[in-house]
Amino acid sequence: DPDATIFERSRPGRRAGTLPADDVPAPTIEQLIPEHARRRQPPRLPEVSEPELVRHYVGLSRRNFHLDRGFYPLGSCTMKYNPKLHERLAALPGFARLHPCTPDELAQGALELMWRLERALAEIAGLPHVTLQPGAGSQGELCGLLLTRAYHEDRGEQRSRVLIPDTAHGTNPATVTMAGYEPVAVGTAADGGVDLEDLRAKADQHTACLMLTNPNTLGLFDRNIAEIARIVRGVGATLYYDGANLNAVMGLSRPGDMGFDIVHFNLHKTFTQPHGGGGPGAGPVAVADHLEPFLPKPVVVRERRGDGFAYRLDYDRPRSIGRLRGFQGNFSTFVRAYAYIRALGPEGLREVSELAVLNANYLRARLAQGRAGRYLRPGFDRTCMHEFVLSAREAREQLGIRALDIAKRLLDWEVHPPTVYFPLLVEEALMIEPTETEPVERLDHFVEALEAILAEAEQDPEIARNAPYTTPVRRLDEASAARRPQVRLLLT
């Protein structure tokens, strides 16, 4: 049965794992663990042999689309190529097999790598201090807001609101709630940037922070960024940079230079940590001097020692907001990010952003023509940065197919669809981020696929509405999955 779970492949008495012989002289388990704490029924884990274990997961893996198979223009996700070198490096025993409680003097290589990565991220952000601790973008956001609160409280201020443009990523408002603030939406102007009037009206002494992505989720660089910063600083709030779109501006423009106080990085986007089907990532945060005392602990400190330097973890940070997670953060993502920065250098990083912008604009221009130009109109018709948003409203109205149908039909072309229905501001949104690692022929193929899908829909919209056809499964019933959730196998 190709659909069986690993539990259903279980047969009594089989096993894969082997363990060393239990050869110590010691009491039996019954003597060691009191009865109230002893497990009565062993967990019904699968009983499978190693060959069948491997076949099961190799088989499952084949039911995934993945970046090494084809184009993945998932807007806002920066699905760029993940260098194979990074996996080799992250697996080195000195990194992979290092215990987090290793005394600093025995972990100098790891600490030096973290220190160097912090310095590199600080330079890229244009802000002097970095914590690597947050385990993902969302933790980075929470970190930024808790830093903001600590900063204001340190000044004796209580502020309750965080301003967020209506184009923002969903994590922004969710984080605001979790941080105990009230989110306040700021509108978008006709050019796709922040509505300055609305911002001026809403920024006041209750404002703790403005969270902004620049370029924003429309892929547009906010040309009023300096003015925005002046407004926000004018009311004593912090200016937070959501680094999800940093891939557009490396070496071209720095958040710190734009006036931001706090920046989070998505190492799994800009710095090409593989996405793993949903993690791991990492969300380091860079801050300006006035926020440094509040950074999570520990921080990596470098000290002169003889001819060289010694590195240590500093826990003695009395004004710190504390911890966002265990230990030092997602260290192996630091290894990959550092290797990436070392390989590319300043010119390579700038070129990454330039080519990300070139690829996006080329694709945008190609899609402004033909049927795409007719049915998929730009959300905002401007030169974009690394991504852009189209609206399938005309497709829906003229052809009767929705953005979702186009997405599903693309699956039959062995192309991953763009992000759909985000940002919310754009009706029937298709958010397209090709990234710099795609060659032009993949972009051309994507255009060809969209043209064909639209042409076919002119003839028969049912084709797209019922797509996909060639995938391991077809459209799934999400409604009943949510109504009567079955979230585990009932074991017998």
Binding site: A16, G17, L19, P20, V24, A26, I29, L32, I33, H36, A37, P43, L45, S61, H66, Y72, L74, Y81, L85, E87, G94, F95, H99, C101, L106, E123, G135, S138, L142, H169, G170, N172, A174, T177, M178, R223, V249, H275, G276, G277, G278, G279, G326, F327, G329, F331, A343, L344, G345, L349, V352, E354, A407, P439, V473, L476, D477, S480, P485, V487
Partner: protein
């Protein structure tokens, strides 16, 4: 070198693309968009790029300056453990098909990841004895904070009572997050035997207590009396939250069976490399009533239009990308690949293996505690880790380093009240010979150590 690293556009490609755009250069595009006042007009101050071989050598040199658990004999634990990671785990998680896809928003082409999530949820439910689980959260400590937030969303109460025997990182993480949630954290002390002082904990619970949080085994390695603790919580209508070490759940009773409402924990011990502390994963299981407020991704089983079984991300209305400020948590990219490693490890170990391994660890821990001949801080039952007093800790560490041994974790780094405490963890990789080597190091460096315990089971 420039212009060729991981990108595809050679100069000819660029010319063709620029021609399509009707511009002469990328700079021309950018100059209209990024105001000059915020343009960076100098190269980033970073070392010049290097070839793949050079980067490889440079990072290898850094890696070699770390005392890794292959070259060193490591008795450190404190929440992460040097277990053997089977080759099948690395083989499977490094397949591109699992390594490089995004979160499975398009279920038709993500059945591999989605079924993995479903299987993982099943395994976590089975281990913890609870009805529902998500597909993983960031790590153990942040899972604890997430548990408190969940309970707060559910019962609206504001106080969290947490035992000091819970991992210090979890308590610190909880405190940090609680400031955001607007919750108050109350910590209750250890008893003299290194376990949670149940009476003091029970006394701290009141009608505004959202939940009680304890850990099994606790940070010192002791086995707690979970049933009694759950009862204490429930008497005041508070939820009972257990932080558990999943690898010990082959021999220790499932928290769900003992009355706990939520069970979370650190997953590293399940097939994840140490990686200096991360990434690993946190797991999160609860009673069914919490399902619609749980954080994190959840896969659900359903059918496609042809009636074929399949999986989807379900209950997404809990999540930030749908519900924004009304989401139940802000988790986005989590730890899917690490959870996959955990799942493959559990399947590798299997029903018999998890019990065998649990027994092996318990017996080795006990043997080691006796063999060291030092005064125990927590003399009661332990299952993989224990704390002892070492009169001259520095002498022990210094001598141990010479033999490439890390003898444990200095307890005072976490609990200043134990200045001479050493927390010692065993795994199946710490052979009897390794343990005896550590005991010899203790004997060499601690001539004055009291032999407080009879050395049961240790051959004369």
């Amino acid at each position: 070198m420039s212009g060729v690293r991981y990108t595809s556009a050679a100069s000819g490609d660029r010319e063709r693309m620029l021609a399509t755009l009707g511009v002469a250069s990328v700079e021309q595009l950018l100059s209209h968009e990024i105001p000059e006042e915020v343009r960076l007009r100098r190269p980033l101050e970073l070392p010049a790029g290097a070839s793949e071989g050079e980067v490889c050598d440079e990072l290898r040199a850094l890696a070699e300056r770390n005392a890794d658990a292959d070259a060193w004999t490591v008795f450190a634990g404190a929440g992460m453990y040097d277990h053997y990671v089977p080759a099948v785990v690395d083989e499977i998680i490094r397949r591109s098909e699992f390594l490089t896809p995004y979160t499975p928003y398009q279920p038709e082409v993500s059945q591999g990841t989605l079924q993995v999530m479903f299987e993982f949820q099943t395994a976590i439910c089975e281990l913890t004895g609870l009805e529902v689980a998500n597909a993983g959260v960031y790590d153990g400590p942040s899972a604890v904070a997430a548990a408190a937030y969940l309970v707060r969303l559910d019962n609206g109460r504001r106080r969290i009572v947490v035992s000091r025997a819970v991992h210090p990182h979890a308590r610190e993480t909880l405190a940090t997050h609680a400031r955001g949630f607007g919750m108050e954290v109350v910590e209750t002390p250890l008893a003299a035997d290194g376990r949670t002082d149940i009476a003091r904990l029970a006394a701290a619970i009141d009608a505004d207590t959202a939940c009680v949080i304890v850990q099994q085994p606790n940070f010192l390695g002791s086995v707690e009396d979970l049933a009694t603790l759950a009862q204490a919580a429930h008497e005041h209508g508070a939820a009972a939250v257990c932080v558990a070490d999943p690898l010990t759940l082959g021999v220790l009773e499932a928290p769900g069976v003992l009355g706990f409402d939520v069970c979370v924990g650190e997953g590293q011990a399940l097939g994840n490399h140490l990686q200096y502390g991360g990434p690993s994963f946190g797991f999160f299981a609860a009673r069914e009533r919490y399902l619609r407020r749980m954080p994190g991704r959840i896969a659900g089983r359903t059918r496609d239009v042809d009636g074929r079984p399949g999986y989807v991300l379900t209950l997404q209305t809990r999540e930030q990308h749908i519900r924004r400020e009304r989401a139940t948590h802000n988790i986005c990219t989590a730890q899917q690949l690490n959870a996959l490693a955990g799942l493959v490890y559990l399947a590798w170990l299997g029903k018999a293996g998890i019990v065998e391994l649990g027994e092996l660890l318990a017996r080795r821990a006990h043997f080691a505690r006796a063999a060291l001949g030092l005064e125990p801080i927590n003399p009661g039952p332990v299952v993989r880790e224990f704390a002892v007093r070492v009169p001259d800790l520095e002498a022990l560490f210094a001598r141990a380093y010479e033999q490439r041994v890390i003898p444990g974790v200095r307890l005072a780094d976490f609990y200043p009240e134990y200045p001479d405490g050493l927390l010692v963890a065993v795994t199946e990789r710490r052979s009897r010979a390794d343990i005896e080597r550590l005991a010899a190091l203790v004997r060499e460096t601690q001539p004055q150590a009291p032999s407080a315990l009879p050395r049961e089971g240790v051959p004369a």
